[in-house]
Symmetry: C2
Subunit: 369 residues, 2 copies
C-alpha cells in the first residue's frame, strides 16, 4: 500500500489553499502542512481543515516534506528556492511552484538545486479569480483549467508522475511545455494584453481631463477593453519584470501594426482598412478562445429565448437542483431577434442533463458550446 | 392643436427602424415614411407597422417630409445630403442623420444645404446591438442612451426643440456637443479601442502560427480584450476614414505610452511599473464607465448570494412578472467569498421594486448601482 505523503504548501492564499483542497480530495490520508506569513490565512486554513498544521516560519516544515509547493509571489519563490538549497531536506523531495512566469524560477531552481538530491519542475496552474486569501479557497478552482508543467534538468520522469497523481483531485488538464515557450505564449495572450488595457485606461483618463465627455460616452466596448486594467499591480509588475524580452517583443511588434494602420488611414486605403478589421473578426471567430481554463472553467449551453416575462424563471425551475456556475443573456455576436441565454455548468454531466431537460420541456432552441 | 407631422426615415435597419418605433410611441398620429434599398427590411417594416409606407426610391418621399432622418451609412448619408440639396423640399424641413462620426457629415450638410430653406443638425444616437435589420427593431433600444446632437450653422434653436419633442419616445438622454469634439471623444473611447482589439487579435493569430499553445492558453482577459474585434468591417472602415486625424492622434499618443513601458521594463524600474498598473486600476475605478448608454442601457442591482443551489431560482420567483434585461454572476472585482448576482432592469421603477422585494424576503445584501 502506498505510504501517505507529507505535502508542504508555502503560501496559503487563494492558489495555495485551493491546491491543498484539491490534494485532500483524492488523498484524504496525506498530511498537509502550510506556511503563511500573515496570521489571518493561517487561521482560516486551519479552521477550514485546509491544512493540518501551519507555520509562520518557512523553514520549520520543509525537512518533513515529500513534496514542497511554493505558492508565493515570484520573487519570494526564488528566495525560498535559495533557502531550500541550504537545508537538509528529504532525499528525493519534489519541489515545485505556482508562478505566472516560469523562466526565472526555473533558472533559479537549476542554479540553486543542481547537485542536491531533489527533483524540481516548474508549475503554473492557470486559474484564479479576483477573490483572494484562504477564505476564498475552492476545491474546484482548477477544474478543467490548464495546469502547466515546465520540466527542467532536475525533472525526472517520475517527478511528473508523482505530481499528476498528487494533484489528480484538481480535475485540471496537465500540459508540459518548455519554460521559455510558456513565457512567450503567456506574453501574447496575457501579459501584453494587460499592458494594453492599463495603457488605454491611462490614455483615456488623461484625455478626460481635457475632454469632459470622455467619461460619459465610454460604454460597453471600452469597458471590455479596460476590465483587466483593474488587476493587482504587485503581481503584474513581477510578471513584466520576469518576462522582459517577450513582453518588449510584443510591444515592438504591436507598434509596427499600429504604424501600418496609420498608413492605411493616411492613404485613405478603404480596402486595406476593411481587410484589417475583417481579418481581426475572422481570426477571433476561428480561435475559439478557451472557455474551459482559468477563470472560465465551465461548460456552456445556449438557449434561444424570446423576450417574454418569466422565461428565465421557467428555465431555472426546470433546472432546480443543478448547480450552475453562471447565467447570462448574450446580446453580442448574435443577429437573431431573440436574446441568447447562456448558462454555465461545472461539468459535462450537468450540462448534458440541462440540455435534455430544456429541450424536452420547452420549444426553445438549445446549443451546446 | 399641433398638426401631425410627416417623418421620413431613410434606412430601415436596426437604427432607423428603432427610431421609427420610438417616434410612434409618443406620436402615434404622425405619418412615418421609410426608405430602404433592400426588400426584406422594407417588408418587415411594413408588416410590423414600423412605417406607414415604404419606398426603394430615396427621392420619392423626401418632398412630403417635415423631418428627414438619414439612418444610412456615413458615405450614403453624405450622398443623400447632396441629393436633397437639389430637390424641392418642404419649407423649413428639418434634416438630421445618425452617423457614428459627425465632422464630415456636418461639413457636407453645410456645404450642400447652405442657402436652402432647411434646418440641419447632426445626430448620433449612441446605441446599438449586434443585431441588425428591421426585424430587430426595438422601441427601447435608445432608452437611457446618449442621443448626441452636433449643431451646425444650419441649426436654429427650434431645430433641437422640435427634434427632442419628436424623439421623446426614445427615452434617451439628449446632449449637445460640437461635431469635432464629438469625433475626438469617440476616437478615444470607441474608435481607437477598436483598432487596438483588431490589432491584438491579428497579432495573436499570427503568433499562434509559430506558437501552438497560443490558442489554448488564451482565456478570459484575452476574450475581453478582443471581443470588439468581431465588429462589422464596413462600418468601422467608414468610421476610421471619417475621423482620421483624431484616430491617428490616439495611435501616436499610445505608441509613446508603450515606449515608456518598454523603458520601465528595460530599466528594471519596479516602482515605475507598479505605478503604471496602479494608475490604470485607480483610473478605471474612478471612471464609473457609463453603464446606461448604448448597449448597456440598464439599471443594475447587485445581490450577495451564497454558493448554494436554487438561490437564483428563488430570487427570480420573487421577481416574477418583472421584466429583467439581464442577469449575471459577477466573479470579478469582488474579494468576497460569495458571488455577486447582477440583475439589470429596464427602468428605475422595476429596479427599486426588485430591491425592495429581495430585501424583504431574503437575508441577502442588496446594492443598487
Amino acid at each position: 500500500m502506498e505510504e501517505a505523503k507529507t505535502i508542504y504548501i508555502a503560501g496559503l492564499g487563494l492558489i495555495g489553499a485551493s491546491l491543498a483542497l484539491g490534494i485532500k480530495r483524492d488523498h484524504p490520508d496525506y498530511t498537509i502542512l502550510g506556511y503563511n506569513r500573515s496570521d489571518k490565512s493561517r487561521e482560516v486554513a486551519l479552521e477550514r481543515g485546509i491544512v493540518d498544521r501551519a507555520t509562520a516560519d518557512f523553514k520549520e516544515f520543509a525537512p518533513l516534506a515529500d513534496v514542497i509547493i511554493l505558492a508565493v509571489p515570484i520573487k519570494q519563490t526564488i528566495d525560498f528556492l535559495a533557502i531550500l538549497a541550504e537545508m537538509d531536506l528529504k532525499d528525493g523531495v519534489i519541489i515545485t511552484d505556482a508562478g505566472s512566469t516560469k523562466g526565472e524560477i526555473v533558472a533559479a531552481a537549476e542554479k540553486y538545486l543542481t547537485g542536491r538530491s531533489v527533483q524540481f519542475v516548474g508549475s503554473h496552474p492557470m486559474a484564479g479569480s479576483h477573490k483572494s486569501g484562504a477564505i476564498a479557497a475552492d476545491v474546484n478552482l482548477f477544474e478543467n483549467a490548464y495546469y502547466i508543467f515546465t520540466p527542467t534538468s532536475l525533472t525526472k520522469p517520475k517527478t511528473l508522475e508523482v505530481l499528476k497523481d498528487l494533484l489528480s483531485g484538481l480535475h485540471a488538464r496537465f500540459v508540459e511545455i518548455d519554460a521559455a515557450e510558456h513565457d512567450r505564449v503567456t506574453s501574447q495572450i496575457s501579459h501584453f494584453p494587460h499592458v494594453l488595457a492599463a495603457s488605454l485606461m491611462e490614455q483615456a483618463g488623461d484625455y478626460a481631463k481635457e475632454h469632459e465627455m470622455t467619461n460619459h460616452f465610454a460604454a460597453g466596448g471600452f469597458r471590455d477593453m479596460t476590465r483587466i486594467a483593474e488587476s493587482e499591480p504587485g503581481m503584474w509588475s513581477s510578471i513584466l519584470l520576469t518576462n522582459k524580452e517577450a513582453v518588449i517583443g510584443r510591444i515592438e511588434d504591436f507598434k509596427a501594426r499600429l504604424d501600418h494602420v496609420t498608413q492605411l488611414i493616411s492613404q485613405n486605403d478603404e480596402d486595406g482598412i476593411w481587410n484589417f478589421f475583417n481579418r481581426g473578426r475572422l481570426t477571433r471567430k476561428a480561435m475559439e478562445i478557451h472557455k474551459r481554463g482559468g477563470v472560465d472553467s465551465s461548460y456552456d449551453l445556449f438557449v434561444d429565448i424570446p423576450d417574454e416575462e418569466d422565461v428565465i424563471l421557467h428555465i431555472l425551475e426546470l433546472l432546480r437542483g443543478t448547480s450552475l456556475v453562471n447565467i447570462h443573456i448574450n446580446e453580442e455576436n448574435r443577429e437573431d431577434i431573440n436574446g441568447i441565454l447562456q448558462i454555465s455548468f461545472k461539468n459535462e454531466k450537468d450540462l448534458n442533463h440541462a440540455a435534455k431537460v430544456i429541450t424536452e420541456n420547452t420549444t426553445y432552441q438549445v446549443t451546446i458550446d
